[in-house]
């Protein structure tokens, strides 16, 4: 009887519920945003068969080497479009980076 009582009281007991909580937050990356670019301004010179002599003469007067690195009108258009595409890509990448930062490292969380 005693054995039975011990059996009843110990083996059919209610188990204590255990809820595990693991909230180990990753450290924020906090990389500094790159410094915005400060570009130099460049000067385009249009040279035609008619003004070539005058252009080179002026360059010599200004103490510049009388040499020009040229593009055709079509290539000028292409380089302008290429730069516009690079600019767009830069802007999109930068904005995506900002959105990720806002999402994963919002300012409220930083304050906490």
């Amino acid at each position: 009887m005693l054995t039975l009582a011990i059996f009843l009281t110990n083996c059919s007991g209610v188990k204590q519920l255990s809820i595990f909580k693991e909230e180990v937050k990753r450290q924020e990356l906090n990389l500094e945003k790159p410094t915005p670019l400060q570009l130099e301004q460049i000067k385009w010179i249009i040279i035609t068969s008619e003004n070539a002599e005058e252009v080179f003469k002026k360059m010599e007067e200004q103490g510049l080497d009388p040499v020009l690195f040229g593009l055709t009108d079509n290539d000028y258009q292409l380089i302008a479009k290429n730069f516009a595409q690079i600019r767009n890509q830069l802007k999109i990448t930068n904005d995506i980076l900002d959105k990720y930062k806002e999402y994963y490292e919002p300012k409220e969380k930083v304050k906490e």
Binding site: T9, V14, K33, K81, Q85, K91
Partner: protein, 152 residues
């Protein structure tokens, strides 16, 4: 024989007492479990709420990026149109009006340079922020340089 029965009664009483104690212990544990479950349910609700907020934020971020991509594409199309508008031939124009085109190209180049600076994160100037007229905007990239400008 009598002792045997007394033994059985005492053992039964002890067993019953131990069983009652066990039930009391179980009851305490069950109450604790109920509290934990309630707290877990409340936490789960909070998690679901947070997930809803996250989804809304994700949708908003996607919308903003799509808008930006479309606006930048429009800027690029506008540049293309400027070169080829009404069968415009920039080469011929440059031969006919060399100085004027040179000035236009240099102005455009300066504007495009500023666009790259803005795209890389350079803050907008007050002039850029407040520009609303065509004559005030940066025609190379109004979508990022002039937030107040509405094309007309």
């Amino acid at each position: 024989m009598r002792l045997f029965f007394i033994g059985i009664i005492i053992t039964s009483l002890l067993g019953a007492g131990a069983y009652v104690l066990k039930l009391q212990r179980d009851n305490v544990i069950l109450k604790e479990n109920a509290v934990k479950l309630e707290s877990a349910i409340s936490e789960q609700k909070q998690v679901i709420e947070n997930q809803k907020k996250d989804f809304a934020e994700i949708l908003e971020a996607n919308k903003k990026i799509n808008e930006l991509v479309n606006n930048l594409k429009k800027d690029l199309d506008d540049l293309d149109k400027r070169f080829s508008k009404k069968d415009r031939d920039i080469g011929k124009l440059a031969i006919d009006r060399t100085k004027v085109i040179e000035r236009i190209i240099n102005k455009g180049s300066d504007n495009a340079t500023r666009c790259i600076e803005i795209a890389s994160g350079s803050p907008l100037t007050e002039e850029e922020k407040n520009a609303t007229k065509k004559s005030e905007i940066n025609p190379e990239c109004p979508s990022i340089a002039n937030p107040s400008y509405i094309p007309y």
